[in-house]
């Protein structure tokens, strides 16, 4: 039954006339499902088949509205169907449904054809958005502590929820436009929605290639996109890889502009800024201990506060 339920729908959104094993679906369904006085076995199975596809497709559309805007509805749907056939959900939660979309699309460029580069950028950004939204956060290091212990051998740990990305297109602005559109349109008339939608489609068409570096992070539980210079990005990526501060600075500035290497003041300002945003934390093991002790205090408080 599971194979039949997960079998793709026809273009008119009906159950396929043949089962995955080639057998006519009507015969296949009748083998295990009873008909009733209103529905055949085929029709009863079709209810589940449709629910499966509608549920999963709408989940992907919710998670990847930017990709949908880039490809248009028809191509987006075709891509999602192909992806779900290749990668049925292997997680108990729909939250993880799109986690293999980027590597799959990289291997299957025909689904985005001429828009492959921008589509890949968009998928990476939208997946990073999900990871940043509910990723783990550990006790942030105080700015003063970072400054105090700053030395070339210092190893810093970045918060797991901070996502660092390099793009070939400025897809962040498009995603922000879509988020704004989705937040606003609940209260708009259909005509105005359509005008806004056309504007968005034209924004996609006009998007010119431009290399950008982005941190997708969160402040007060809301996700933000923060553009960075190539040097900032390089430094943070090196830190995430476990390099010492000295190694990270060397690795970054040997590749980039020498003027930055000399600009110690600028580098200090970046670190100050990142510390203020809470991007650095104690290594997870230490942080877990801190969180555990905080949780114990909290639940003690909760027990006393409960009605």
């Amino acid at each position: 039954m599971a194979k039949a339920v997960m079998n793709p729908l026809t273009p008119s959104e009906h159950m396929s006339s043949h089962a995955p094993n080639g057998e006519p679906m009507a015969h296949h369904a009748a083998k295990f499902i009873k008909p009733n006085d209103r529905l055949t076995s085929f029709e009863r199975l079709e209810i589940y088949n449709r629910q499966y596809w509608w549920r999963l497709m709408s989940s992907l559309a919710e998670d990847f509205p930017g990709l949908q805007a880039v490809l248009g509805n028809r191509r987006f749907e075709a891509l999602c169907k192909a992806y779900l056939v290749a990668h049925p959900s292997r997680s108990f939660t729909l939250r993880n449904l799109g986690r293999d979309l980027e590597p799959w699309l990289r291997k299957n460029p025909q689904w985005a054809s001429s828009k492959q580069a921008i589509a890949l950028d968009m998928v990476r950004l939208e997946w990073a958005d999900i990871e940043a939204f509910d990723g783990a956060a550990f006790e942030p290091l105080q700015s003063a502590n970072v400054a105090k212990s700053a030395g070339s051998n210092l190893r810093l740990t970045l918060q797991p929820y901070v996502q660092l990305l390099k793009f070939h297109y400025p897809v962040d602005s498009l995603v922000l436009e879509i988020k704004k559109f989705n937040n606003d349109t609940e209260f708009l008339s259909n005509a105005f929605r359509e005008r806004r939608k056309r504007k968005r489609v034209s924004a996609v068409a006009k998007l010119k290639p431009k290399t950008i570096f982005l941190a997708v992070h969160r402040v007060d539980y809301s996700v933000y996109f923060r553009r960075m210079t190539a040097e900032e990005y390089g430094l943070l990526v090196a830190i995430r890889k476990g390099k010492t501060l000295g190694q990270a600075i060397d690795a970054t500035f040997s590749k980039h502009s020498k003027t930055f290497a000399a600009d110690l003041e600028q580098v200090t300002a970046w670190f100050q800024n990142w510390s203020n945003l809470g991007w650095f934390c104690a290594p997870p093991q230490q942080s877990a201990k801190i969180q555990k002790s905080e949780k114990t205090q909290k639940s003690a408080k909760r027990r006393t506060a409960k009605k």
Binding site: K34, R38, S299
Partner: protein, 302 residues
């Protein structure tokens, strides 16, 4: 006390009543009427702090590492009682239980201090591939035995009472050896677990499969009912779909009435998951259950 109950239309009036059938399947609690915690209501709940006896959370929405959902949950836990309801344990699937799933679920159980935990009597995954649907079981003795064993294993790991919910269904299998309610009873007896009795699901399935819904309600062992679900659904030409996007209809309230007559005053929850109206509308719909709960209290008082 009885007069006070009759004058008052909030579930709080019943909190001190001892007629609530606290049992080992709901952690010997005496919960009244609750509603599902849904994101469109977060702001209202956190800013207005409405009086609600308890909230039911979908476990999977909070089995994550951090961020806003966990922050909201902690604030809710500071002020309200919460019960966990899952949608993906799939007690009826032949797959082995996903250890990562169990580990995360246990973490949430410890955080929420849920007095009991519910999930569905259904299957939904094969060979590690998830349908994310609540698929109906073949009602066989073999399936009952395997499902019961899985429920026991999960309960032993989570160390919390478990109640299984009857699902709504659109298909029946040739191989079934018994009715759905006989299968439910077989599973809960073998697993020695509780029942989350969803009277809307009973109604939906009774219409789709042409059985008498009261036969189902009348056959459920009352001492095992930990909680009751009520909800709305959508009627199509040839079948009914369990959509949780409408108010509860009268025939479902009648089933609820019958269930309460048999089971007594039981923790009751309204599910509203799509086209979600304002918090006040959802809560008022849930509080309609008081009409029937009041009768049960009266009957016991006389």
């Amino acid at each position: 006390m009885v007069a006070f109950i009759l004058r008052t239309n909030t579930n709080l009036a019943f909190q001190s009543e001892k007629s609530v059938p606290a049992n080992r399947f709901n952690g010997f609690t005496e919960y009244g009427i609750g509603i599902g915690l849904r994101s469109p209501h977060y702001q209202h709940i956190l800013t207005r702090k409405p009086v609600v006896d308890w909230f039911e959370i979908i476990s999977e929405n909070f089995m994550i590492d951090g961020g806003r959902p966990m922050h909201i949950l902690d604030q809710i836990l500071d002020q309200y009682r919460v019960v966990q309801h899952g949608v993906s344990m799939y007690f009826g699937s032949a797959d082995r239980i996903d250890r990562e799933h169990l580990k995360r679920l246990k973490g949430l159980v410890q955080r929420s201090k849920t007095p009991w935990l519910s999930d569905h009597l259904c299957w939904g995954s094969v060979d590690g591939r998830y349908t994310h649907d609540l698929l109906p079981m073949p009602y066989t003795f073999e399936a009952a035995a395997k499902t019961a064993q899985k429920i026991r294993d999960v309960r032993d790991y989570l160390e919390v009472p478990i109640a299984v919910e009857n699902v709504s269904s659109y298909a029946e299998f040739h191989v079934s050896e018994m009715t759905e309610w006989e299968f439910l009873n077989e599973v809960v007896e073998r697993a020695d677990c509780g029942i989350l009795l969803d009277v809307n699901n009973i109604y939906v399935s009774s219409q789709n499969h042409s059985f008498n819904a009261f036969d189902y309600v009348n056959s459920v062992p009352p001492e095992r009912v930990a909680q009751i679900h009520i909800a709305g659904h959508s009627k199509y030409e040839k079948y009914i779909l369990d959509t949780h996007d409408h108010p509860v209809i009268d025939p479902v309230w009648k089933l609820y009435d019958r269930a309460i007559q048999r089971v007594g005053h039981t923790a009751t929850l309204l599910e509203w998951d799509d086209s979600i109206p304002t918090f006040r509308e959802v809560h008022n719909e849930a509080l309609k259950a008081n009409r029937f709960l009041a009768k049960s209290v009266l009957a016991r008082a006389v």
